[in-house]
Structures are given as structure tokens and as C-alpha cells.
């Protein structure tokens, strides 16, 4: 060891009493400072929050969910149920419920514990532990049944306040999240020995390979393996060389800190890469996280196995952890998890941990092996090392408050009889309960799991249709380093061939390593205490015990899916990684069945908790949804327009002048249009060019109107129905040529109308020679409306005679304006003389400003959608979606005149003939005048004959549009009223919530200029 490192070493040794002097994958020369619950600690680069706290002897990292029992770190990985913490950089960068075992330490990291008040050491909620008898399984369902009135005011608020672990931050999240789609032939999830060799094999085929792993370093179990030899080299050296070899392949993408969280149909796999969470000062150019959406031809799951805890009384005290976690803390992080250890072993991993701990100087008080006759390399090595081994031993209980201080070890007979309890002092109690293959993703793919009696575990079964995956190594039930390396390579090679690659040379990985061991114990361990009083925890995070599960079985919850929900076992944020198999074991015991008879619960994404930011990706703020603006938008903005959203478009709603509210602005705009001239941006209207020799025939079929005889250069108001006969869209249609129509649609309907037309064309009438092209954005549309419209427009137009005789109402012509092409419509949605000037968007602003400048002579007034709505309502013109609601026929809204009576057919025609559609009592469009001549009605308000009638009232209809009419000097409204046209002159009542009703008179819906004289203003 170089002398220059010596000072740092001594610092670490002094400040971190449980740090080993050497070894591990940490860098003792890079000290880091961090805080936990406000107290400052030291750690080193390479630590996790959990390992750094353990270096200080801190095991207590959280309080349990229900009983608020003190809890310590139990695992060293993503299966951690207890050590959940909140890590904060600032108010918006606060992440709750992170596993301390996965939080990489950085300088200045600030973490706090959860589910405690006021502090981790003294927690008021801990009183729950004393009332545990009152909180049995399913207490949620039993306790809060009565009185009913208590639910809203007492039970729910109290439950909500006491439930949950970390707190959700309320400040906006300032971090960025991105997504990336990726394609590969072979995706390998898990970079332990099996994943590494799988990637090696696939890489050699030349195909694209992605290898990801949730940990900060690739290597899996090899990161904590200090004893095995692979190909004649220490495992650590082999790992370094293998990663270097993989890095030389340009076809291989290596993704550490990347969790495969979801497996979706057709080998679509979601990965989340934590890009900056481990950095002290993240670069704001980098996303915090990146969701990879991978479409893989073949997937290899090398996800390893989770160690099983043992279910013995008080198995949840701080200082009680999984055996393999202890091995990892010692070997990988250079941390001793205690001074004096008892190891409860049902599997050789207990011996491996004992040897690693002993090597690091931890006293091994006893290895208490549940098995009567253990054997094998681990056992032999422990004996050789002179460790105290007792066989046929169970754990009858533990002691200690904030930390385990002793274990009661008892002998257990073949018959389960327990005697001879002996208390042994310890500050560390390890559980070696055997292994559970990690098959979350395998199960998520809907592939089957099957029970393997030999290893007492579920292993991969039949692969789901539409998926292509295989498991390797411990995930496949092949335990041990030898099997991991060989099954991994084989799986990678097979996946490559299945994905179309060439076969690869076989490689043999000769190892010297511990023998594989599949021994396990599932279910509650035998003990000689009162089974109704002791708690042996099954789900540590949700605080459910063997006793709870047995109670659930007694109460009739036989199905594991029912018992799971009743007791909440396996339903915490860890999704039962450590609790599922013990739960099955206890349920099998309680029902006298085997585990495969019990079945298993469904695995669902995500594998570990995944941020919402990942799913949102870039879709926030301005990129949440496209914001569409017209060519006139910035001009309108400059004029102080107030905009409204219409679909994705921003439309100018009104143009307030100094001191004006909307009503004043709209009244002024309305007057200007009726008296002189208004200018309006109608660019957002949908436009579809219908072209081909069968264009008129197609129009005849799609619209209710007749089109055959519409002359070239003429327009018609068209109405389109759905097949059910209800109005779907409307708009003016101009005939540009015999075989060319310029169709306009509503702003919001543009895309769906085109889709519906295309749908009919492709599926019903493929033989028609007609084609549809969206022209919405080919043309910007300037509406010039008012008596002075022609006078202002004329000087700019070339090639079109605008005289009333040559260019009457509903005419269309192509020509030029301000030197650019125009399609000029003479149409009016206001009732005034009007033109809609279609021009290329690139020239629209110029044309608009030219017209505006000329129009200043006549006080030209820009107006918005609100004024447009008032003006059209004065004329009784409907707006689809306002007067219609998807249940209005053409006749309901007064459009029977538009139907081409002679046409054989059109979309919706047959439906219009059904009796219900011709019922004279249907709701019909009428006008409403408030009898008091003052009240502007509420849109949507209900209309009744007698407001004093008992409820529920007979409702005759509702108000669809309501405005103050500047032109008429009184309010006007449109409404749909039952048999409305036969009620002209009647007085009805419009209900005003909380204020009684307003009397209204039913009148014609055309309020202004019924004769249409204004259309031809000279």
C-alpha cells in the first residue's frame, strides 16, 4: 500500500469504527461528508448511504409502516424493505422512499428517515406497537365500519395522516427527464456472472447488444466475491477484464444504474437509467433520468436471486440482516455490520457470510444451522476456520430495542419439537434462508412460472406467445458461479442465434468457487413460545406477520391473492421481494398444503418504484402538447389580444383596449363589424382539398347536401352526419373546378373529419376516383366582414371582378392579392358583406397588414372568436359542438333545408328515417329572449315550464348559446327545447341555481336582419 494513502486510511479508521482497514470496491482516499437526520457523517467514494451509515455502526434507518417498530437495513440491494429514506437536494428535488442500499453516496448528500415523529430514536407512533393486538390482519376492513359518519371526519383523515412512508414533495420538479427508444437484437438484464457471459456470447455474433444492471457497477455477485477464481484469475480480475472486453465491441451498449422495470408485449422492455442521482453537482444539461424503451428481438434475464429471510419471532430488529447482505457489506464496501454475529442458517450462504465476517475481524458467536446434517464446502471451510457451528437449531426469539442484543437459540427435533433455549448475546443476527430466483420481469412478460421441488422455488416455465426471452444463472434456478457463467453464455449464444446471428464459439469458464446450495426453509420457524403472542415478520415493509397470515387463513382467505390483499403482504413498495416466498411458506403450513398448491401472486411493473418524471419524459411545459399558432398570431399578440385554446390552436378571443373588459371589447368589436369593418383570423379552420373525377359523387355521399349541380366558382354550406344521423361537422365548401372542391371544417374537427372521409373512402368506396389532401396549413384565412369590406379589399385584388353581380354571396374565385395567389370566398358568418381571403401563410401577415392599413380609413377593427360567436348567434347560425352535442339531427337545429332530398343516400340518411329521429317532440333549435330584457342567461341552464314543480323536474331543454347583443341592445340566446318550433311565443322558465328562474320568450333563432339585406351592403 502506498504511503501517501496512509493518512486517509487512518482518518477513515478513526471516524468510521466499523470500516475495515482494506479491501472492497470503495476508495478510502476519497472521503465524503453527508448527513442523515441532520447529523453529519463521513463516508468514502463507492459507498451507498446504507454502507456509510453501517461504517458508523448505525443500523436504525427507519420505522415500520404500521407498528412504527425500529428497523435497520436488512439487505444490500433493491430488495430492501426497511431502510427507506428521503433524499433531498432542495424543495423540488426531494425523493421519498429511496432504498438506502441503492442510494450512492456523494459529497453533501442529505437524507432523512421516514415514518417517525419527532425522531427516529423516539417515535410517538411507536405506541402502535403496544396496541398490536388491536391491529390484526384486515383491521382496515373490520375497524372502521361504524358509525358511518365517522368515516369522512375521523377515520379517513387519521388513516391518511398515519399511513404512507415518505412525503411527496409539493414544489415543482426542476429536473429534466428524457426518453429514448432503442432497438437491439439481444437485451441482457442483469450484469452478474450470467449476464456478463450472455452479453459476451451475443456480442461475438456482431448483433446489437444492450447490457443493463440496476447497480452502480456492472458485476452483480462478483462485486462482493473475494474468494472465487474464474479462468485461473480472481473473480475481481476476471470481472475487470470482461468489462474491458465488452467495451471493445461497438455493437454493445453497457448501461449501469439502469433498472429493467417493465416487460411489455412483443419484447418491449422499459428501462430506467439514473443519470445524475449519484452526482454531487449534476450538470443541468443532463436529464436526471432516462427511460429507455427497448424493442429487443431476444431478451436474456440474468436477474439473479434474492435471499430469503427466515420467519422467526422478532426477526425485524435493527442488526438482523440477510447473510449475503453482510457478505456484500464486508467484501464490497469494507464495512463490518457488527462486532459479534449469530448466523441463522438454512443455506450455505450463512457459512460464506460467517467466513467473510470472521476474516474481517467480526466475532462469530455461533452459526445456528437449522439443518441437522449440513455438509459441503462452506461447512467444511467454517469448521476448518474453527467457527462455532451448531446444527438442528432454530431461533425462538430475539432481544434488544433499537438494536438486536441477543438471540434465543433452541434445539429443534425432526418432529418440530423445540427445547433447550439458550440466549446468546450478539449485535448482528444473519438470516440465510435460501434463495428465490428473481423472476419479476419473466412473470410480467406473462410467461409461466413452474415449481421446482428440488430447489423449492418457482423457476421459468413456458414463454408467453409474442415474447422471446430466456433466463440464465440464478434467475433460471441454476445456482452457483459455475452454472451462472455457463448458462449465461449458453443463453446469450442461443438468443443471438434466435435473433438471426451466427453461432458463436463455445467458451468454458473453469472456476474454483463455493458449491451451489439450494437448501432453504419456508414458513414460520418452529419455536416454543405462545404463537398467539409472538410476531414473526413476513412482510417487513407492510408489517405483516406469520400470525396475520394464519388468521387470514382461519377467516377463510384461502387464495393467496385474497390473503395477500387482506393482510397487505407483498403489497408495499418493495412488492414483496423478500416476503412473497415466506408468505407462501406460511400459507402452505397453515393450510397443510404444498406451495405449488397455494400458487403465487402476480408480478406487475415496475420492478422497483419508478418516478413519474420518467413516464412524462419531455412532455411538460411548452412541450406537454404541440401549441399551434397562425401566421397572424404575433400581430394579434402585438395588439394585446387575449387568446383561447381551441384544440391545439391558440386563437385570438378578443382585443381589449385600455380599460376594457371582455364584454366591453366584444360590444365594440360587434358594433364595428355591423357598422363598418372587422378583420378576423380564420386560419385555423380545417381545409380539405377533395380532388378527382368522382369528387362530386364523394361529396354527395359524405354530406347531406346535393353537390352535383353546384357550379364551379360557387360555394355551399355543407353539413356532415355520422352514420347514426347526428350532426358531426359543418363548413363552407367551394367548387374550384368540376373535379376539385375546397372543403372547410370546424377548427377542432379538421383531423377527425379527414380521418372519417378517408375511412369511408378506403373501406366503403375504394373504387371512387377521388383523393383527399389536407390543406389546413396551405392557406391562411383572413376574414374581412362589414359594409366596407369590398371597398377596402378591391384595390388589392387582381384577376377577380368583385362587383356584386360578378361575385355574389357564396362565390369563390382564384386570383391574386398583393401579388400572391389567393382563393377568395365571398361568405359571411356574421350576416354582413364578407370575404374570406385564403392566402399562402408566408404572405398572410403582409396581406393582413395591407388590408388593415387600408381599413384604417373606416376604423377597421380586429375581432376575436368571442365577437364571431355573438355575430353568428344574432343570425341564428349554429356552432357544431355548441348547439349540437352529438345527439342533434339536422332537423333539430333547423337544417332540413340543406338535405339533398333527391339523393339516394348519404352517410346518416338511413338513421334519419328511424321513428325516434322524426319524433315531433324532439328538442329543436329556438331563440330565447329574457322577458326582463336584461338578463344574460347562463349557457347550459335548464329550461322548464314551471320552476315550482316538485323535483325531479320535467326539463324541456337547455340554453346552448347566450350573449349580450350590441346590435340589438338586449340579450339573446339559442336553446334546444322540446318541440320548440311549435312553442313560438310561449313563455318558459330558465333555472338559475340558487336564484330561482328567469322568464324567457321563445322566438325565431334568427334575431338580426332576417331578410339578409346586410349581405349585399353596397
Amino acid at each position: 500500500m502506498p504511503d501517501s494513502l496512509a493518512p486517509n486510511l487512518s482518518v477513515a479508521a478513526v471516524n468510521e469504527p466499523f470500516r475495515t482497514r482494506s479491501g472492497g470496491r470503495i476508495d478510502r482516499a476519497k472521503p465524503l461528508s453527508f448527513s442523515f437526520d441532520g447529523q453529519t457523517y463521513s463516508g468514502v467514494a463507492g459507498d451507498t448511504l446504507a454502507s456509510a451509515l453501517l461504517a458508523h455502526g448505525v443500523h436504525l434507518m427507519g420505522r415500520s409502516f404500521k407498528y412504527h417498530r425500529p428497523r435497520g437495513v436488512m439487505t444490500a440491494g433493491s430488495d430492501e424493505p426497511n431502510a427507506l429514506v428521503t433524499v433531498s437536494r432542495d424543495a423540488g428535488r426531494t425523493a421519498p422512499n429511496l432504498r438506502a442500499t441503492q442510494v450512492e453516496l456523494y459529497e453533501g448528500l442529505s437524507a432523512i428517515s421516514q415514518n417517525r415523529f419527532p425522531s427516529l430514536q423516539f417515535d410517538v407512533g411507536g405506541i402502535n406497537d403496544h396496541f398490536a393486538a388491536l391491529l390484526p390482519a384486515g383491521f382496515y376492513y373490520k375497524t372502521f365500519m361504524w358509525p358511518r359518519s365517522f368515516w369522512d371526519r375521523v377515520y379517513e383523515p387519521v388513516i391518511r395522516a398515519s399511513a404512507g412512508l415518505g412525503k411527496v414533495p409539493t414544489a415543482p420538479d426542476p429536473d429534466r427527464y428524457l426518453q429514448r427508444n432503442a432497438h437491439c437484437e439481444v437485451l441482457v438484464i442483469g450484469a452478474g456472472p450470467a449476464g456478463l457471459t450472455a452479453a459476451l456470447a451475443a456480442a461475438e455474433s456482431g448483433l446489437r447488444v444492450i447490457l443493463c444492471d440496476e447497480q452502480s457497477e456492472l458485476g452483480g455477485s462478483l462485486l462482493a466475491d473475494t474468494t472465487s477464481m474464474i479462468a485461473g484469475k480472481p473473480a475481481r480480475v476476471w470481472l475487470t477484464e470482461t468489462l474491458a472486453e465488452l467495451a471493445t465491441f461497438s455493437n454493445v451498449t453497457l448501461l449501469p444504474r439502469t433498472t429493467g422495470f417493465g416487460y411489455y408485449p412483443h419484447n418491449h422492455v422499459g428501462l430506467v437509467e439514473r443519470v445524475t442521482d449519484h452526482l454531487a453537482s449534476p450538470d443541468s444539461a443532463q436529464p436526471r433520468e432516462r427511460m429507455w424503451q427497448v424493442r429487443a428481438k431476444e431478451v436474456v434475464l440474468a436477474t439473479g436471486a434474492f435471499e430469503r429471510p427466515l420467519t422467526f419471532p422478532e426477526n425485524d430488529r435493527p442488526g438482523i440482516m440477510l447473510a449475503d447482505a453482510a457478505t456484500t457489506f464486508v467484501n464490497r464496501y469494507g464495512v463490518k455490520p457488527g462486532k459479534r454475529a449469530v448466523i441463522a442458517a438454512a443455506n450455505d450462504s450463512g457459512y460464506r457470510a460467517a467466513l467473510a465476517l470472521a476474516e474481517a475481524g467480526v466475532e462469530i458467536a455461533m452459526i445456528a444451522d437449522l439443518r441437522r446434517n449440513p455438509s459441503g464446502s462452506g461447512y467444511d471451510a467454517a469448521r476448518r476456520a474453527g467457527l462455532s457451528i451448531e446444527t438442528g437449531k432454530t431461533i425462538a426469539g430475539t432481544s434488544g430495542k433499537m438494536r438486536v442484543d441477543g438471540a434465543s437459540i433452541a434445539s429443534v427435533g425432526e418432529d418440530g419439537k423445540v427445547w433447550n433455549t439458550q440466549d446468546i448475546g450478539c449485535d448482528l443476527l444473519l438470516m440465510a434462508g435460501g434463495w428465490t430466483p428473481t423472476l419479476h420481469l419473466y412473470s410480467q412478460s406473462l410467461s409461466k412460472l413452474k415449481w421446482d421441488d428440488a430447489i423449492q422455488a418457482y423457476v421459468p416455465g413456458a414463454v408467453a406467445a409474442s415474447q422471446a426471452l430466456r433466463a440464465a444463472g440464478a434467475a433460471s434456478g441454476a445456482y452457483g458461479l459455475d452454472a451462472a457463467l455457463s448458462t449465461g453464455f449458453k443463453a446469450g449464444a442461443e438468443a443471438a442465434v434466435a435473433a438471426g446471428g451466427d453461432g458463436v464459439t463455445t467458451r468454458v469458464f473453469v472456476t474454483i468457487s463455493a458449491e451451489a446450495d439450494a437448501s432453504t426453509f419456508l414458513g414460520a420457524m418452529p419455536h416454543n413460545r405462545d404463537a398467539n403472542r409472538v410476531r414473526a415478520f413476513v412482510d417487513f415493509q407492510n408489517d405483516s406477520t406469520a400470525k396475520d397470515l394464519k388468521l387470514a387463513v382461519r377467516e377463510g382467505f384461502r387464495s393467496v391473492e385474497h390473503a395477500k390483499r387482506y393482510t397487505t403482504t407483498g403489497m408495499a413498495t418493495d412488492q414483496g421481494k423478500t416476503s412473497n416466498m415466506p408468505m407462501l411458506g406460511v400459507m402452505a403450513q397453515a393450510q397443510g398444503k404444498t406451495i405449488p398448491e397455494i400458487g403465487f401472486t402476480t408480478f406487475r411493473p415496475p420492478f422497483t418504484p419508478t418516478t413519474f418524471g420518467n413516464f412524462a419524459g419531455a412532455a411538460r411545459g411548452d412541450l406537454f402538447d404541440p401549441i399551434r399558432r397562425t401566421a397572424i398570431h404575433h400581430w394579434a399578440e402585438g395588439q394585446g389580444a387575449v387568446f383561447e385554446d381551441v384544440g391545439q390552436w391558440k386563437r385570438a378571443r378578443y382585443f381589449p383596449r385600455q380599460g376594457e373588459d371582455m364584454h366591453a371589447a366584444v360590444a365594440r368589436e360587434c358594433k364595428a363589424v355591423r357598422s363598418a369593418l372587422g378583420i378576423f383570423d380564420a386560419s385555423t379552420l380545417g381545409k380539405i382539398e377533395v380532388v378527382g373525377p368522382d369528387a362530386a359523387e364523394f361529396m354527395n355521399r359524405m354530406y347531406i347536401n346535393p353537390w352535383t349541380k353546384l357550379g364551379v366558382g360557387r360555394c355551399r354550406y355543407g353539413v356532415m352526419l355520422r352514420e347514426d344521423g347526428f350532426v358531426y361537422d359543418d363548413g363552407v365548401v367551394g367548387r374550384i373546378a368540376e373535379d376539385r372542391f375546397h372543403v372547410t371544417t370546424t377548427t377542432g374537427g379538421a383531423a377527425s373529419v379527414l380521418n372519417m372521409m378517408e375511412d369511408y373512402l378506403q373501406t366503403e368506396w375504394p373504387g371512387l376516383n377521388v383523393w383527399l389532401t389536407s390543406a389546413t396549413e396551405q392557406w391562411a384565412v383572413i376574414a374581412l366582414q362589414g359594409p366596407k369590406a369590398r371597398e377596402v379589399l378591391a384595390p388589392f385584388v387582381e384577376g377577380i371582378d368583385l362587383s356584386p353581380a360578378a361575385f355574389p354571396h357564396m362565390a369563390i374565385a382564384e386570383g391574386r392579392i398583393c401579388g400572391v395567389k389567393t382563393r377568395l370566398f365571398r361568405v359571411s358568418f356574421t350576416g354582413e358583406l364578407g370575404f374570406e381571403i385564403n392566402v399562402p401563410p408566408s404572405a398572410a401577415r403582409r396581406v393582413w397588414e395591407a388590408l388593415y392599413a387600408e381599413g384604417r380609413k373606416h376604423s377597421i377593427t380586429p375581432y376575436g372568436t368571442e365577437t364571431m360567436h355573438v355575430l353568428r348567434a344574432e343570425k341564428g347560425f349554429i356552432i357544431v359542438g355548441q348547439e349540437t352535442d352529438g345527439t342533434a339531427t339536422p332537423d333539430d337545429v333547423g337544417l332540413t333545408w340543406a338535405i339533398g332530398k333527391a339523393k339516394k343516400d348519404f352517410v346518416g340518411k338511413r338513421s334519419l328515417a328511424r321513428p325516434g329521429m322524426t319524433d315531433p317532440k324532439r328538442k329543436q333549435l329556438v331563440g330565447l329572449l329574457s322577458v326582463d330584457n336584461r338578463t344574460v342567461l347562463e349557457e347550459g341552464a335548464q329550461i322548464v315550464a314551471d320552476p315550482k314543480q316538485p323535483k325531479p323536474m320535467t326539463v324541456l331543454g337547455h340554453v346552448t348559446s347566450s350573449y349580450m347583443s350590441a346590435a340589438l341592445g338586449h340579450p339573446i340566446a339559442l336553446a334546444l327545447v322540446e318541440a320548440g318550433r311549435s312553442r313560438m311565443g310561449e313563455t318558459l322558465q330558465v333555472l338559475v341555481p340558487g336564484k330561482g328562474s328567469v322568464a324567457v320568450k321563445l322566438v325565431s333563432p334568427v334575431f338580426y336582419d332576417a331578410e339578409g339585406a346586410s349581405l349585399d351592403a353596397v
Partner: protein, 181 residues
Amino acid sequence: MLSDIVETTAIDADGVRLETLPAFGRLNFRGRAGAVAAMSEAFGLALPEASCRAAIAGSRAALWLGPDEWLLLMLPTETDAVIAAAASALAGLPHSLVDISERQYALGLSGRLAATVLAGGNPLDFDLSTFPVGMCTRTIMGKAELAIWRTEPDRFHIEVWRSFAPYIRGFLREHMREFGA
């Protein structure tokens, strides 16, 4: 002007550049076999029959967008002449030819990371073996439609509708930020 609705300055990052391409004349051509041959003649370029493939000749290009649909690109000054030539060449042959020069505009995305940036909002496989030079397709970017045409191994021609251009530009820029944009 384009700048009325969208910034047109190029965005540069390490390994990828997003720029606004010059104006094009654009025609949407629809028609059946006979008309396709006549249109090819009039356009001076055989419209590609293979799906999702583009053909180029001189200043003109034809992009296959559907079994009976092509996007024809040309210089803006050529558009009227092409329309006139088509009118006589296609007389009597059922077809549709619509000027959409102003409906959309073109972005260029280039550089070794161009495909990576596209992958931020599009699920297609942009590997050269599956999306070769000359391939074009209508597809999506985030929540907007566009057409993507690979003109060189590291260069894409993107067609977007005018009003979606700010969104597409912003979306691509967001995915270029980590590379220094």
C-alpha cells in the same frame, strides 16, 4: 414568413445540428398506375414504387408516402411549371395534384448523433440496415406528426406542418441539450 411562427436559426450541439432548410415547392400527388407513369414523365423523375423510398433527380425528389401517394419536392420556382406540365400529361387520367408548398416546411438534422436525437421521440429503428439512406416515412415525434427522410447516413430531411414546427424544433432541441445545445 416562416419566422412569423418559428425561429429559424440553426441549433448546434456536439455531434448533431438542427437547421431550417431552404423553401421547397411541394406537390401532393395521388393516383393509380397509369397516372403515376404520366406523372413520372411530367416530373422528370420516376416516382418510386417501393414503399417508404425516395428518388432524387437534379433539384427534384419524390417521396413514397403511401400506395397511391407521393410527396414531390422541387424548387419553389418550378412548382407552377410542374403543375402545368402535369395538367397536360395527365389529362383524362384520374389523379389528384395539390399544391402544399406552404403547408409544411423542412428541417435538416445531421451529425453522428442525429439518429440518437430522433430516437428521443420516435420508436422506429434508425439503424442503417433497417432505415437506409433513401428511406422515408410519415411518422411521429413526441406528439406531432412529421415525415422523416434519410438523405445521407448521418443526415435526415424532416417535413413538418407549419404550426407544428415550433413544437418539433423545441422537442428536438430538448433532446440535443445533453450534447451541448
